[in-house]
């Protein structure tokens, strides 16, 4: 198994932490993992992206141009990374703010209305966990149990009261994701 993922969106959407939780959970399952963020001024409210690799073998390049899965959460990311999905790969997106929907015919495309859904929850900060749930539904590579461990590790202790709502968000994402192509 070797899963190469790009997650891209706005800074503040929780793109980096979603990737980190995936990597952490992968590690809990004895996978080799890497998490390579874009860093620098981009982090401050601009676009942010992170490459996550989950693998059964030693990971070679953390820098990639082609991905098995692209999780794209704004228009800039759609424009930049739609073409980077390997033929037969997966593109998961949230239509909120998307003016040009994906055009590729040779990939599977999934939609998760995470922004809308997070608005209905206790806090909209659950956005990224809804997206993560959607990904897990499409590619059940990591167990829900390990995702919870990852959440615990990445949330500061003072926010641990938010663990249940985040867990709910992951489950919600699994429910609402739908394949559009």
């Amino acid at each position: 198994m070797n899963e190469e993922i790009i997650i891209a969106g706005f800074g503040g959407q929780g793109v980096l932490s979603m990737g980190k939780i995936m990597a952490y959970a992968g590690m809990m399952q004895q996978m080799e993992v890497s998490w390579m963020p874009s860093y620098g001024p981009e982090m401050r409210g601009g676009t942010a992206n992170v490459t996550v690799i989950l693998s059964d073998e030693r990971i070679s390049s953390p820098i990639l141009n082609h991905f098995d899965t692209a999780i794209l959460l704004n228009q800039q990311s759609m424009d930049k990374f739609e073409s980077s999905v390997k033929p037969g790969g997966v593109l998961l997106y949230d239509s909120n703010g998307i003016t040009r929907h994906p055009q590729r015919k040779d990939i599977s495309i999934y939609l998760v209305e995470a922004a809308t859904e997070s608005g209905k929850m206790l806090t909209t900060k659950t956005f990224n966990m809804i997206v993560l749930g959607a990904f897990l539904k499409i590619k059940p590579l990591i167990s829900f149990e390990n995702i919870v461990k990852g959440l615990k590790d990445s949330l500061p202790v003072r926010h641990h009261h938010l663990l249940p709502v985040n867990e709910d968000a992951v489950k919600r994402g699994m429910e609402i994701v739908k394949q559009v192509q």
Partner: protein
């Protein structure tokens, strides 16, 4: 072995510093390595091991604090990124001239000047050929994973004390910022005994005073000092060469790359092999001393060598010196924070040798 964690390279380096029994860290913030001091500060190392942590007023002050602290015979370190490492060069020259052990991390970013905060490998010359003034060398360790960002702290201190010389870890923004699984070594004790031959522990009546200096105004004596240093560097070259060979046994084409470039090339080797091209990779782990002998040994049976660097081509000079014209050595170079993809590197191999 110890605990497994998911960490950034910079964090793994900092955690390893505490575990290696480091006595003091002095630094100044600069992207992309600020996590080192941030992580240390959050860990409160003075409570964990008694390690000193101090944010200095500048990189210049930081390296001079390292110089002072290293003089006490303790394990001390600093970290910075390219422009900050430039500022530290005078101090590094003093450390080398005074024969003081210490560990210096450079998480390289692009230059020249303020350049960019994105990753680069353009400080190869600076690290391997001297950097500051005078004839000196440092062992240069090039980590290519978060695991090595941790492991090389322990190795770096070992080598620094073995040779009484600064050791530099030459990393880059990719290795510093990426997270991987890391298996941390167990906590080591801090030093309790200090070398009375040279360390400033306070002059007792049973020994001569210890003076740490790089100054000698007597030319004949100073030449002897320099010859002694050169002898030390020769011993390092003899004993400390480290490299990794990947798919080299039957290789017709060889990538030579270190650090993050080597990671990219590992994938390029896979791509090449999948296309029936017998490619291999030599990853120098020490950049000084350089694995010249191994590359030379392979040169006779190779059709071409491609060095891959996030610079205008610096290590390629050492590769060319190693093979002395026996085989064509080409370069794939990206600069300014641009990083090639494994496919791009593979294409460069095809193009360079008309495959």
């Amino acid at each position: 072995m110890g605990e497994k964690k998911l960490m950034k390279g910079n964090e793994a380096f900092a955690e390893a510093a505490i575990r290696a029994g480091c006595d003091a860290y002095f630094g100044y913030p600069i992207t992309p390595q600020s996590e080192v001091m941030e992580y240390l500060a959050a860990q409160r190392p003075h409570l964990r091991t008694g390690m000193v942590l101090l944010q200095a007023e500048s990189e210049i002050a930081a390296i001079n604090m390292v110089y002072g602290a290293a003089g006490t015979g303790k394990k001390v370190m600093t970290s910075s990124s390219s422009p900050g490492i430039s500022l530290k060069q005078e101090g590094i020259s003093y450390l080398a001239g005074s024969q003081l052990p210490c560990l210096i991390l450079n998480v390289m970013r692009g230059g020249p000047g303020l350049g960019t905060i994105q990753p680069s490998q353009s400080d190869y010359f600076q690290a391997t050929k001297g950097g500051g003034h005078g004839d000196y060398r440092m062992i240069v360790l090039a980590p290519a994973s978060v695991q090595e960002m941790a492991d090389f702290v322990r190795l770096g201190f070992e080598l620094a004390f073995k040779y009484r010389n600064p050791v530099i870890m030459l990393s880059d923004g990719i290795i510093g910022q990426m997270m991987e699984k890391v298996e941390l070594f167990d906590q080591m004790p801090r030093l309790t005994e200090f070398d009375q031959q040279w360390a400033t522990t306070g002059k007792t009546t049973d020994r001569e005073r210890n003076v740490i200096t790089s100054l000698d105004l007597d030319p004949a004596r100073h030449e002897r000092h320099n010859l002694k240093l050169q002898e030390k560097y020769r011993k390092m070259s003899e004993n400390e060469v480290r490299f990794e060979s990947i798919e080299c046994n039957d290789a017709e084409y060889l990538f030579v790359a270190y650090g993050s470039s080597a990671r990219i090339c590992q994938k390029s080797v896979k791509i090449a092999r999948a296309r029936g091209i017998r490619a291999g990779l030599i990853r120098p782990i020490t950049l000084f001393p350089f694995p010249s002998e191994e590359i030379d040994r392979m040169a006779g049976k190779l059709k071409g060598i491609l060095t891959v660097e996030l610079s205008a081509g610096q290590m390629i000079e050492d590769v060319r010196l190693a093979v002395e014209g026996k085989v064509k050595v080409a370069l794939h170079s990206r600069m300014g924070g641009m990083v090639p993809s494994p496919e791009e590197v593979f294409d460069a191999l095809l193009k360079s040798f008309s495959i």
